[in-house]
């Protein structure tokens, strides 16, 4: 018992030391940012990893239109994207309602529209629109990319079937980073690690 006490004490002593170091190293702080600024940056990145079909309007148009339908959760976070140039095209942001979502290349469906998600997917699901959301209910309705939070970091799932339906090709690189929407559980049961 004495031997045990001796080194439990040592370990606790160590613990305080390590904590002391922790308090000192405040400077090497993990970079933090607002949730929607990170999601905006992801949207900006996604454009580089998605292939729109060759005959689509996207290829010939000089702009990329990102539409937010319903209550906009991004607010200022999208200011960084406005008027940026991606893949030789200018980014424009438009705010739409669920009844009128024409002319979008990327469509973000926020939580406020979760009841309309099915309707939205029906109208644009077969056109080459990259649909994105961040609510589970909307992901189930056929949205292509869905954000979720895991251990305080932004992650996303990709619904390959929905992408195929929309005629969009998702780069293997993006697929690798995503949780694939189909059969996320027990992949080893089908030898998919």
């Amino acid at each position: 018992m004495k031997g045990q006490l001796k080194y439990i004490f040592t370990v606790v002593f160590l613990a305080f030391l390590i904590m002391g170091c922790g308090v000192i190293s405040v400077f090497g702080e993990q970079y933090k940012a607002g949730e929607y600024r990170v999601k905006a940056a992801f949207l900006y990145n996604f454009i580089n990893f998605v292939e729109w079909p060759p005959q689509s309007l996207f290829q010939s148009s000089p702009t990329i239109t990102l539409c937010i339908v319903g209550d906009d959760p991004f607010r200022d976070a999208l200011n960084e994207l406005k008027n940026d140039t991606v893949r030789g095209k200018k980014m424009t942001i438009k705010y739409r309602s669920a009844d009128d979502i024409r002319g979008c290349n990327i469509l973000f469906v926020p939580a406020s529209e979760k009841h309309n998600a099915a309707k939205i997917v029906r109208s644009v699901g077969k056109s080459d629109v990259l649909t994105v959301s961040d609510t589970e209910e909307t992901a189930q309705q056929g949205i292509i990319i869905n954000f979720f939070i895991e251990q305080k970091k932004v992650r996303f799932t990709i619904n390959i079937d929905a992408a195929r339906l929309a005629g969009l090709k998702i780069s293997a690189k993006l697929l690798k980073l995503a949780k694939i929407f189909e059969a996320a559980e027990g992949r080893a049961a089908s030898k998919e690690y």
Binding site: I18, S25, G28, Y31, A41, F148, A172, A183, G186
Partner: protein, 698 residues
């Protein structure tokens, strides 16, 4: 900036180490050990050496432009305190099996020390321990004396069942440190239609962390009951957009209970049944993984020394030299390429090695088992979507056993009893089709043909029908067979007068019928009900020749195991989680219709995670009940109730994780059935145990 902080830390620690160093020198005893094993001060030194590592490149803190970050870097950005975000929910699964998943989050919150601890919480799994190895029983089948060769244990898809004993090691002898585990997938049922050998009762796939969840330098230290110390240093980093690397080293030193009492040895000649300082355990393990685009190279090594206090195999009681040293190593090269949305190709090359030393002391003379196995192999797999409704997978695997050496000898005076070295090979070819007959009706059929140099060939199919009448319900009907090849030990190990070889052994077979119901109730609750029927034939069992008493392995037994399982899982917002499962099962030997040894009729498992302070502190509670089991003499072990409690905290102090665990909280006395090699009918297990663990990320 970074350097100054690290240097300050080192200075502080140096001062402290000076003070406590003396203490350590006093309490550390250098014990003469077999080659390649650490003494306990090394375990702590590994912890300290982390501080000497140079600081890592962190992206410039003045970069407000998130757009400049790559995808991988974006995935590493922490968002400001998100309170109440629930974990991603997995909807009705399309897997052709009943699957349980344990995450690294569970590992931290329930204080799991080993894979064995993890499996103790899994529905219809049971773990028994004889103070040498931990053994898995699945769905009522877990006879004493089996070496976990009926479960296939994979690490990132790489099989770690060795080529001599086909043993899956799940304790501190498991090749991966528990902190490196990202996720464990437990896939019940026969898996030979895809995986071949050993996928008899279940396939367990352990997925290790990659650089998105292990970045920078991480150190961990733990102290626990029975003078146990464990240390780890890990380093993870990404290099550009495509590459990443992980390196990790761990060490463990446990003295074990100071003394154990066995009434079977209670005679003056055997120290009145008291064995002192013989239940020790030490290990060291290393892990490395490098990913570059589609290529991953992974390598791991573990060395574990375990004192054997039970006097098994008639060895001298209370002799510290009775021990087992297990070493495993593997190197795996994997290439995984997505050809387009519809097809993937995977190719693997692997090398495995096992080294084992068993020391048995008889009347003061040390008898040693020395085993060395080495193998190389390759696997290729191609998966593609055909005609929209079919997802077809085909693959082939080959393994060449370069060396399968078993030997047995007395050390001094030297006498050789066995030296058997064989070479063998095996290959397999498999195919699977996942056919979406309707949008909510899937047929999953697969078959694998295996050819073994030792016994010939075997074909194993699996068929499953998965129907989801509504989005929240799934019904699965599963049929499958699997095999377990006789291993090198069962085939060729022989010592004159004690054990005879049997090269004519045939593989064991299992046929499983399973019905699974999965139901999602709303957003948070999921329920599962399963009925299973396992029919096992040609079980390889050790038999004693009635005249000579010489042991030999034979294909003799026939077992049928049937049962029902129920499970409810609730995932709430804010980190609340609850899971409860109940299994009722019956495993009978078909020859005499008696229940199997070590087969509990009832298993209950409850897991609860409660947030105590937002996302900074959690309590993890486990309740495990196992009903009474039969022993080899027909006695009963009695019911077992175990309660475990863990308090886990993160980021109360930045980047620090701290946990305290109490295992077997109510200090219940219980034992597990002994095997043929034990004089003990029931081997007493430990009472209450503690652990304190710290993890710090630089």
């Amino acid at each position: 900036m970074q350097m100054i902080e690290v240097l300050k830390g080192i200075l502080l620690l140096g001062a402290a180490f000076g003070k406590s160093g003396k203490q350590f020198a006093l309490s550390c005893q250098l014990i003469k050990t077999e080659k390649g094993v650490l003494n306990r001060s090394w375990a702590v030194l590994i912890l300290f050496s982390a501080l000497l590592v140079l600081p890592l490149p962190v992206y410039a803190d003045n970069s407000n432009d998130l757009k400049k970050l790559s995808l991988e870097q974006l995935m590493d950005v922490e968002i400001e305190s998100v309170y109440g975000a629930s974990k991603y929910e997995q909807k009705v699964t399309e897997a052709p099996s009943s699957v349980t998943i344990i995450t690294s989050d569970d590992i931290k919150k329930y204080g799991y020390r080993t894979l064995a601890d993890i499996l103790r919480s899994v529905r219809s799994f049971q773990i028994t321990n004889d103070r040498n190895y931990s053994y898995v029983g699945v769905r009522g089948f877990g006879r004493t004396g089996d070496y976990n060769s009926r479960i296939l244990l994979l690490v990132d898809g790489h099989s770690i069942n060795d080529n001599i004993y086909n043993q899956a090691l799940i304790g501190e002898d498991f090749i991966i440190d528990i902190d490196l585990i990202e996720r464990v997938e437990v896939i019940r049922g026969p898996g030979s239609s895809l995986y071949g050998n050993d996928a008899f009762l279940a396939v367990i796939n352990v997925i290790t962390k990659n650089s998105s969840n292990l970045t920078g330098v991480e150190t961990a230290g733990a102290a626990g009951s029975f003078r146990t110390l464990k240390g780890r240093v890990s380093y993870g980093s990404s290099f550009g957009e495509d590459a990443y690397g992980i390196l990790s080293a761990s060490g463990l030193d446990s003295k074990g209970p100071h003394s154990l009492f066995y009434k079977e040895y209670n005679t003056p000649g055997t120290n009145n049944g008291v064995t002192v300082n013989t239940d020790y355990e030490r290990n060291q393990s290393f892990f490395g993984k490098v990913g570059y685009g589609d290529l991953t190279i992974e390598s791991a090594f573990v060395s574990r020394m375990k004192g054997i206090p039970t006097g098994s195999y008639g060895t001298d009681f209370n002799d510290r030299n009775n021990r087992a040293i297990d070493q495993r190593y593997y190197l795996d090269l994997k290439y995984e390429h997505r050809l387009d949305d519809d097809a993937t190709v995977t190719a693997r090359l692997f090398y495995d090695a096992i080294y084992y030393w068993g020391t048995y002391v008889y009347s003061g003379v040390q008898n040693k088992d020395y085993t060395n196995g080495q193998s190389v192999g390759a696997e290729a797999m191609y998966s593609r979507r055909l005609f929209d409704a079919h997802k077809v997978t085909v693959g082939t695997e080959y393994q060449f056993n370069i060396k399968q050496l078993q030997s047995n000898y007395d050390v001094s005076p030297y006498q050789l009893y066995l030296r058997d070295n064989t070479r063998s090979n095996r290959w397999g070819i498999y195919a699977q089709d996942e056919y979406s007959i309707l949008k909510n009706l899937i047929f999953n059929g697969g078959v694998r043909f295996d050819h073994y140099g030792t016994f010939g060939s075997t074909t194993n199919p699996r068929a499953a029908l998965i129907y989801a009448p509504v989005e929240t319900t799934a019904v699965k009907l599963i049929y499958g067979t699997a095999f377990r090849a006789p291993n090198n030990f069962e085939l060729y190990y022989q010592v004159p007068g004690q054990q005879a070889a049997n090269p004519d052994l045939k593989p064991e077979t299992i046929t499983t019928y399973e019905l699974v119901l999965e139901q999602y109730f709303g957003k948070h609750l999921r329920g599962t009900a399963t009925a299973f029927d396992n029919r096992i034939r040609s079980l390889i069992a050790q038999q004693a020749d009635p005249d000579t008493g010489v042991l030999v392995f034979k294909n003799t037994d026939k077992v049928e195991a049937k049962g029902l399982e129920f499970e409810l899982e609730w995932i709430g917002d804010g980190g609340y989680r609850a899971k409860a499962s109940y299994t009722v099962q019956n495993a009978k030997d078909q020859a005499d219709h008696t229940s199997l040894v070590n087969s509990p009729t009832h298993l209950v498992k409850v897991n609860l995670t409660l947030p105590i302070w937002s996302d900074k502190a959690f309590a993890g509670i486990e309740e495990q009940f196992m009903s009474s089991r039969s022993t080899l003499t027909g006695a009963k072990t009695g019911d077992v109730y175990i309660t475990n409690l863990t308090l886990f905290s993160q980021n109360i102090v930045k980047k620090l994780e701290f946990s305290g665990s109490i295992y077997n909280l109510f200090n219940n006395k219980y034992g597990d059935p002994g095997a043929e090699e034990h004089l003990q009918d029931i081997i007493q297990q430990n009472g209450r145990e503690y652990r304190l663990k710290l993890m710090y990320r630089f």
